[in-house]
């Protein structure tokens, strides 16, 4: 065994990172390519779990926990509920037309991805600025309440209005029992 403990450690770290990246992209693939919407939502949840792992690698454990809590715990479950309430049916498009549509969509999305990757590879990134903060949860809370306080308040207002609007929209047209 010529592997030292340090290199084994970094190898494991890299393997877990690749696992998270594969979960993110594979989940996204399932979410967009599957024909049944239940599988799409499960793929979305898998993708968000992988994304939470990537956030952990970006040294923000708070964000990764919030990602699991908000996206996997709230948004995926809400989409599941909406599917139960509305009973989405399978597509009734002719086979040839669907194939054509999917090919065109795949082609455009592939071109988009390839273009973005070429741009990312070619860009000359400037050297990183010296970090003034370490990004702990205390600093995040302070930033939310001081520097980004206004945006924070506006977002909370947006959330309030959105939930009120959702109630109003979903309630209108509802038949009252005789």
């Amino acid at each position: 065994m010529s592997l030292t403990s340090a290199s084994m450690h970094s190898g494991l770290e890299a393997a877990v990172f690749v696992g998270f990246a594969v979960a993110t992209l594979g989940g996204a693939g399932i979410a967009v390519a599957s024909r049944r919407l239940v599988r799409s939502v499960c793929g979305l949840a898998l993708s968000f779990l992988g994304l939470a792992g990537l956030y952990y690698y970006l040294q923000s454990p708070f964000l990764s926990l919030m990602q699991i809590l908000v996206y996997v715990g709230a948004i995926c479950i809400t989409i599941m509920f909406a599917m139960m309430l509305t009973d989405p049916q399978d597509q009734r498009v002719s086979r040839g037309r669907r194939l054509l549509l999917e090919t065109v969509c795949l082609l455009v999305a592939g071109l988009l991805a390839a273009g973005l990757i070429v741009v990312i590879g070619r860009a000359g990134w400037v050297a990183p600025a010296p970090a003034a903060h370490t990004g702990t949860i205390q600093e995040l809370g302070r930033a939310l309440l001081y520097r980004y306080g206004f945006a924070f308040e506006v977002i909370s207002l947006v959330l309030l209005l959105a939930s009120l609007g959702a109630l109003v929209v979903a309630r209108s047209g509802r038949r009252t029992k005789p």
């Binding site: 770290e13 890299a14 990172f17 690749v18 990246a21 993110t24 992209l25 979410a31 967009v32 390519a33 919407l37 799409s40 939502v41 993708s47 968000f48 994304l51 990537l54 956030y55 970006l58 708070f62 919030m66 908000v70 996206y71 709230a74 948004i75 989409i79 909406a82 309430l85 509305t86 009973d87 989405p88 049916q89 597509q91 498009v93 969509c105 795949l106 455009v108 999305a109 592939g110 988009l112 991805a113 990757i117 990312i120 990134w125 990183p128 970090a131 003034a132 903060h133 370490t134 990004g135 600093e139 995040l140 930033a143 959330l159 959105a162 609007g165 929209v169 979903a170 209108s172 047209g173």
Partner: protein, 108 residues
Amino acid sequence: MNFLLWSGQLQVYLVIGALLFAAGFYGFFRHRTLVGMLISGELIMAGAALNFMAFGHFRAADVVAGQTFALFIMGIAAAEAAIVLSIMIAVYRNYRSIETKDLKDLEG
């Protein structure tokens, strides 16, 4: 490119974000129901949030900025999901379907 160093490189995160965006774009036009389009929209937002996080971590003097933007994106995504779901329920009540091709009446 050494695979052991992938987790410490900005480009890897940007490529993952770009692929998430492309997947969301593909799904947005492929799915014919509102639920599918909502799912794809969430993927697009996730790609944007990953970009913000990566730039905030690797290139910004203020590490907190990226995390704050990702948190704001989460708030916006939650609001969007709530609105879209209520619209879906209202549409289903009127049309008995949430396929986009069935929604073609403009009636006051």
